[in-house]
Every structure is written in structure tokens, then in C-alpha cells.
Amino acid sequence: MVLANVLQQLLTGLWAAVQLFVLTLVFSMPLGLLVALGRMSAWAPLRRLGTKSEYAGKNPGKAVSALRAFKPVQTLVRFFISVLRGTPLMLQMMVVYFGPYYVFGISLSGYSRLLAAVIAFSINYAAYFAEIYRSGIQSIPQGQYEAAQVLGYGRRQTFFKIILPQMVKRVLPAVTNEVITLVKDTSLAFVIAYQELFNVAKQISAANTTVLPLFIAGAFYFLFNSVVAWGMERIEKRMSYYS
């Protein structure tokens, strides 16, 4: 076992982890916003059910009340979030990677392990980001919406100009937490044999009966996260121009 050789292999693994990390963030952060908006959707298409009929004004039964309160988008997104948070990411990754062939019999050309991992990670992390964003959006005082409305801002303008920028600042600490967890979670991609840092370290260590590569991998994760934490801290500082 030549150390330089080992280091080179581990660095290749690290690069694979970085790719998964960056791509996951790029897709999951915007997707999370979409999911958050769906989760907060108040669209209830049946809310006027029966209000124009001969029974209008009469006390509606339980079934009618439930149908009136039914919010299809919110219900669907709630279900989506609860499944993604309630099952292991490893399992989700296996479903995404093996599912198309073993369940549907489709073999996709160019369907790589990285692609499968990015899809599974992005969807899973979007669910978590969505709930973080939602907490941020719901923490903005009602007065901000009212001030915007009175000044004539439309719904879209209010969200993008007034609410979103304030939300970003509020959720930053929670997002940092999630991003740091993501660095370590990339190691879960070993389950579909994606050659990332942890997988590589384990293989070298098994082949040479030494734990040294695992320790080096640990150091790499730590360094990786130090860079991430430093970056997030700088972003937080840049947003501290108001309180």
C-alpha cells in the first residue's frame, strides 16, 4: 500500500462526493421552495360546494364540510413530505436506481449511479428544505403582507420582494445545519455502489486490512465541512446588515 496512491484514490472519492453534494444543493434548494409553496397552498376548489343550491344557508353535514375544506395540493404535498421524511434515504436511493429496471422493466441508457443519487438526494432534501422555508415564511409578521398590500404590491411582488429576502435571512442557520448533514450523507450513496469517498476508503481499508484510509476519509469530511461552515458563516454575515 503506497500512501500517495491511497491519497490519490481518496481524492477521487472526495471529488465524487463533492459532485453529489453540489448537484444536490443546486436542485433541492429551489425545489424545496416549490414544495414549501405547495405545502402552504390554501386552494380549496370545493369551498363553495352547495352554497348556491336549495340547501344554501342550512347547516352543512360533516361530509360537505370536509369536502369544502379539502385542499388537494396541500394534502398531496403533505403526503409527499411525510413519505420522504419517514423512510430511509438509502431505500429511496435504491428505489430510484433499481426501480426503473426491476419494477418497470425499463433500462435507461446513460442512467448513471451519480444521476440516480442526485435525483434521490434532491427530492429527499427538498422535503426537508421545504419545511425549513415554511417555518421561515410563516415567521414573517402579518404586518409585512398588509403594508405591501396597502402600497399596491401584487401577490407575486410581495412574495419575491418583501417576504422571500426576509425569509432567507431567518432560515440561514437551519439551512446551514442541513447542508452540513448533506456533506456526511453523501456517504450513503455507497448503497448503489457510487464510488464516493467513504466507499473508496472502505474498499482500500478492506483490501489492505488497515483502518488508516477510513481515518483519512474522516479528516477529508471534516475539512470539507469546515469549508462549508466557513462559507455559510460568510453568507450569514453578509445578511446581517439589518436585524
Partner: protein
């Protein structure tokens, strides 16, 4: 023509409690109206109905003759489909300012004129600086709201409302979040606006101020107007027992 006209407003938040019971208020151009009354009398709800923040159950609303809301056959309010033009008619100053904390003072004043009213940035900035000068805040244009005192924030909020050039300005207890010294700052500004013949409706607990600045005082309780008239009459020699009772607490 009336700048604002509310007719037969009814509002209840649940089946049992009626907050507004058939209230009608109209305001002339250049008139300053003060609305007083105990907490829970419906003053703020009335203001929120006039500024389209709360939907009326029944009643009509119009600005300078433009209908914003009217009654259907059952007497339930129907709102106009497009309220954009109506919203440009009025401004509102909140009790707790509600400035945008992520914008500088200048941007708080210019963003709506530029991105809602479509004015040019340069023009909006010139007007904003003019307004800030009037408020005695010329040196604060680059500050963020969190760097200002409560009184300064409220003056920015008034300037922000004025920047949209409304025909009528509503104030919802503009000094209730301020100490007596800062209250004076705000009252001075409102007094100045009254001298410039700005049309204003002010919900307030400052009786001396209402007497001083208002052309008409409206006393509300229990969701109805108990009495209204010139401040000398309503505050000086009230006819109604309930008004006397309420004012007695302020004189001692």
C-alpha cells in the same frame, strides 16, 4: 364629491359577535376626521375595511365615486374584480410602522412608487428626499429601519405612505407604540399635513390632539357611531351618556 364613502358596513368575525353594525362614514376633500372610542369598539376594523385589509360582510365602499364594493340583492358585499386603481387612492399608517426591514429608508419610500406605480427611479428618489426633508430625516436616507428610533420609524412610515401620492391617508393609532416624547414628533407631522389640507382619517386615543387638529370627531362604541360632530361639541359638550362616560376617564 366625497373622497371616501363607506355605506352600511357590517362585519362579524364569528356568528355571535358583530364588530361593525351598519356604519356609514364619508370624508370630504381636505377634511381631517378623528375616530375615538374604547378598545374593541370597532375603530380599527372600520379602518381595515376602508383600506381593503378586511372584507366586509355587507356594505358599500367607494373612493372619489369609484366603486370598490357594493351590495348584492341579499345585502352581501361584492368587491370589484380589479382593486388596483382603488388601492392607489389611499395610504395607511400602521400602529407598529410595518416598515420593510431589509430595505433602506430611501428604498422603503421609492420601491412602491417605482415597482407598483411605474414612476422613474430618479423621480421617485427626488420626491422621497423631499419627503424625508419634510420629516426632518434627510440624513437617514441610507439607514435601515432598525437603526432608527420608534418616532423616526413612524415618520418614515408616514413618508412611505405619502410617496404613493394618496388622496386620503388613514392612521391606525399612529402613536400607540410610542412614548409621550416621540408621540409629540408624530403629532407635529400630522398637524403639518393637516395645514397642507391633506385628507386624513385618524384613529387615536390622543384626545387633546383630536380636539386640536380634527375638523370632525367620531365617537364609536359597540360597532356603531354613538355621535359625531365638531370636536368642540363631541369632546367639549357631548350629548350622549356613553360619550360622557368615556371622556370622563380622560379628563382626570
Amino acid at each position: 364629491m366625497k373622497v371616501m364613502e363607506l355605506n352600511g358596513v357590517r362585519k362579524s368575525f364569528d356568528e355571535t359577535a358583530e364588530v361593525l353594525r351598519d356604519i356609514s362614514v364619508s370624508v370630504d376633500k381636505g377634511e381631517v376626521v378623528a375616530i375615538i372610542g374604547p378598545s374593541g369598539s370597532g375603530k380599527s376594523t372600520l379602518l381595515r375595511c376602508a383600506t381593503l385589509l378586511t372584507e366586509m360582510d355587507g356594505g358599500e365602499l367607494s373612493y372619489s365615486g369609484n366603486k370598490a364594493a357594493w351590495n348584492d340583492e341579499q345585502g352581501r358585499t361584492i368587491y370589484a374584480g380589479d382593486l388596483k386603481k382603488i388601492r392607489r387612492c389611499f395610504g395607511l399608517v400602521f400602529q407598529n410602522f410595518n416598515l420593510f426591514p431589509h430595505y433602506t429608508v430611501l428604498k422603503n419610500l421609492t420601491d412602491a412608487p417605482v415597482s407598483v406605480a411605474g414612476r422613474s427611479r430618479l423621480e421617485a428618489e427626488n420626491e422621497a428626499m423631499e419627503l424625508l426633508k419634510k420629516m426632518g430625516l434627510s440624513d437617514k436616507a441610507g439607514c435601515y429601519p432598525c437603526q432608527l428610533s420608534g418616532g423616526q420609524q413612524q415618520r418614515v412610515a408616514i413618508a412611505r405612505a405619502l410617496a404613493m401620492q394618496p388622496e386620503i391617508l388613514f392612521f391606525d393609532e399612529p402613536t400607540s407604540a410610542l412614548d409621550p416624547e416621540l408621540t409629540g414628533e408624530i403629532l407635529k407631522v400630522i398637524r403639518q399635513l393637516a395645514q397642507e389640507k391633506m385628507t386624513m382619517v385618524i384613529v387615536t386615543h390622543e384626545m387633546a390632539f383630536a380636539r386640536d387638529v380634527a375638523d370632525r370627531v367620531i365617537f364609536m362604541d359597540g360597532g356603531v357611531i354613538i355621535e359625531q360632530g365638531p370636536p368642540k361639541e363631541v369632546l367639549g359638550a357631548p350629548k350622549e351618556e356613553r360619550t360622557k362616560q368615556f371622556l370622563a376617564r380622560f379628563s382626570n
